[in-house]
Assembly symmetry: C2
Homo-oligomer: 404 residues x 2
């Protein structure tokens, strides 16, 4: 592939590229680029939001570039020294190794890890001395740091910024120097840090890295960033049926975005999809199923994805369940009648019993006969009354404040 | 001496003490305190402004406390990594040693160096790693740093603050932790750093140091801080006659301040002096000579100080020169007549020649006979015309903008 053809593929679906011209020129002059993606070894469950970046890495791998997964073990081992951020406890070397095994299992569904280098930044960060740090820190200013969005907001609000937090962008920039990076990949929230690395590389006499950020994917609610704590995520290792079911809950207006950023359809194809949905020549339900099947196929293969689709059509759709419906958390409900009242389908236990006796109450499409049946509620289940009233009953209580 | 008596002496002449109560209590509980004074080994010429602190150290020494002169060799060896501050070139170990010999020679005139420990902070700073720095920096916030006067001003003005500059207060605070300081001494400009050290010591489980700052002494112009570059200083190693002459140029309103901060008279004595000058029972000229003699005696002994005074009276005062007179920089004047015109005593070379022929022009009290005499102008000299017009002609040009 020519440098121009490679660049065309590589910039597809990105948020910012600093700069496209440099990327093409660097490919032309150097051939095989050194590409970095840094992660915190915190053992998180990977979801479609992560897959976006892993997919871009895989594109680099397939073209033949040298891709390194940089594990930020150095700062993970320190954690948050102030203890204020409970999400950052210090991790032991063993915990980091265990988390990385989990990570590899998950990332391996998108990325050919045999063709990816793994590096640990403690290799060059652990030996740094105060003398080295003075030299590195002198290359940037306080005002520059405070211009980073999150720091600017916290400073303006009076939320304390511990001084060591200024070290992390510096250290991340130094990673790029130590690795002689040509390209750094990450989410848009990393853009400031990526640009800082360019300054450090210039200071070190290296050509500055090309900064390539990828969009932040909205969750299946279509509102906020996908995240485990928000309950709006599709994990890479979930069973095919669950992935498919979750994707079918996507609001129609997210179909195009998921086609681009989760199904990774080529831009031309996505443009046609958007046009078809806009002028009504394509049906949202059909297209949502197509996108969902394509996404599931990436993690479970074409066969399993097809079966997930068929099962969805057979069990959920044929029973004419709407693909979007309200969710209800059952909390401490002990009986079916409690849930019917919680859902607002019955005003009293009496009324709940009447509904059940009338034969119109179903769980996942199967009629129930006893309003006093114990509610186990360990899995999500669709509760319906008649042909019009549906609610998806979730186990427990919401794990995060419900999104608006 | 009781803790209360020691405290009485030690707080005399200080600017801020954080806190006096802690000082007395620490002496009572611990007996012998660990006292630190930190200096940059930059080979500066010591003057009366420095003597203020050295004198306070000597008081601690004489009471029997453990006083350490801490040499900031670590940062001196690094210099200013940005290269923007030309006054901070990196110093070699040899340069630092040479500067310290010079320093000892000068400081030895005030301080009994045989009873003072010398420490180099590279001993504990050189081994610090990035890991250590993250821990230290996490103990303070960006907002706290930016509250320091000079940083606040520079940030408000938009003058760049390099990130590494935030390290210096942290490192200085860590010096106090490493030394387990009980008391830190310095100028009022160090107050922020001293207080920061208290936080670091508390975090390390140590009792926080007592912070003791000393006033910044005005120069002999009575206006701005004494400093070599301002030409308003009295160096500790200058000959007695020069010291005495410079001190006699002090404005009358500075007599009391110099009595306290340079002659180190006890507070009660200084109060009496202030009262006597205010109500006219003491003559400023007599008191200025007494203060000057006391100051000179500290660096050259009582005998030499008395001789300096007598010589001043014989040569300068008997010729009825005023002790205060305007100063004029001769610049590139080549002849006496040029200087007479510069001083405004003659409007033209012609008039200058007439004045000289009239016999009323004197240099240091000695009549001159030739208006065209070459002007060597290597030393300050008093040029007078008649009995009323005097000017002190200085060599060269002002080394700093003239003070108002």
């Amino acid at each position: 592939m020519t440098p121009a053809e490679q660049t065309e593929i590589l910039v597809e679906g990105t948020a910012e590229v600093e700069t496209r011209g440099e990327l093409e020129a660097r490919i032309a002059s150097k051939g095989r680029l050194s590409v970095k993606f840094g992660i915190d070894p915190t053992g998180s469950e990977l979801h479609l939001g992560h897959a976006l970046i892993l997919h871009k890495m895989q594109q680099y791998v397939e073209i033949g570039h040298s891709v390194t997964l940089l594990i930020g073990d150095f700062t993970a081992r320190i954690g948050d020294p102030t203890g204020r951020n409970e999400a950052r406890p210090p991790l032991s070397v063993e915990q980091i190794e265990a988390n990385m095994r989990t990570y590899r299992e998950q990332a391996g569904r998108v990325l050919d890890l045999d063709r990816v280098e793994i590096a640990y930044n403690s290799q060059w960060l652990a030996p740094l001395t105060l003398h080295d740090m003075i030299g590195l820190m002198s290359q940037t200013t306080v005002a520059q740091m405070l211009s980073r969005n999150d720091f600017a907001e916290r400073y303006a609000e009076g939320t304390p910024i511990s001084l060591h937090e200024f070290l992390y962008p510096v250290v991340q920039a130094y990673d790029s120097v130590a690795m002689r990076c040509d390209v750094e990949l990450g989410g848009t929230d990393q853009y400031f840090n990526f640009l800082l690395a360019r300054e450090y590389q210039k200071h070190a006499g290296q050509p500055p890295q090309i900064c390539m950020t990828l969009p932040i994917l909205e969750g299946t609610d279509g509102v906020v960033r996908m995240g485990k704590s928000r309950g709006n995520y599709v994990a890479l290792t979930e069973p095919a049926a669950e992935q498919f079911g979750k994707l079918m809950r996507l609001p129609d207006e997210m179909i195009v975005r998921y086609a681009l950023l989760a199904a990774f359809r080529p831009a031309s194809d996505v443009d046609a999809l958007a046009a078809g949905l806009a002028d009504g020549t394509l049906a949202p339900m059909d297209e949502k199923k197509r996108v969902a099947e394509q996404i599931v196929a990436r993690y479970h293969g074409i066969e399993e994805a097809r079966r997930a689709r068929e099962r969805f059509e057979a069990t959920v759709q044929r029973r004419e369940l709407p693909s979007e419906m309200p969710e209800l958390f059952a909390g401490e409900a002990r009986r079916l009648s409690d849930v019917l009242r919680l859902a607002g389908f019955a005003a009293s236990r009496r009324e709940a019993e009447r509904l059940v006796l009338g034969g119109g109450v179903k769980l996942d499409g199967i009629p129930v006969s006893d309003a006093n049946m114990a509610w186990a509620g360990l899995e999500p289940v669709v509760l319906s009354v008649g042909a019009r009233r549906f609610v998806r009953v979730m186990p427990g209580v919401p794990s995060a404040p419900p999104s608006r």
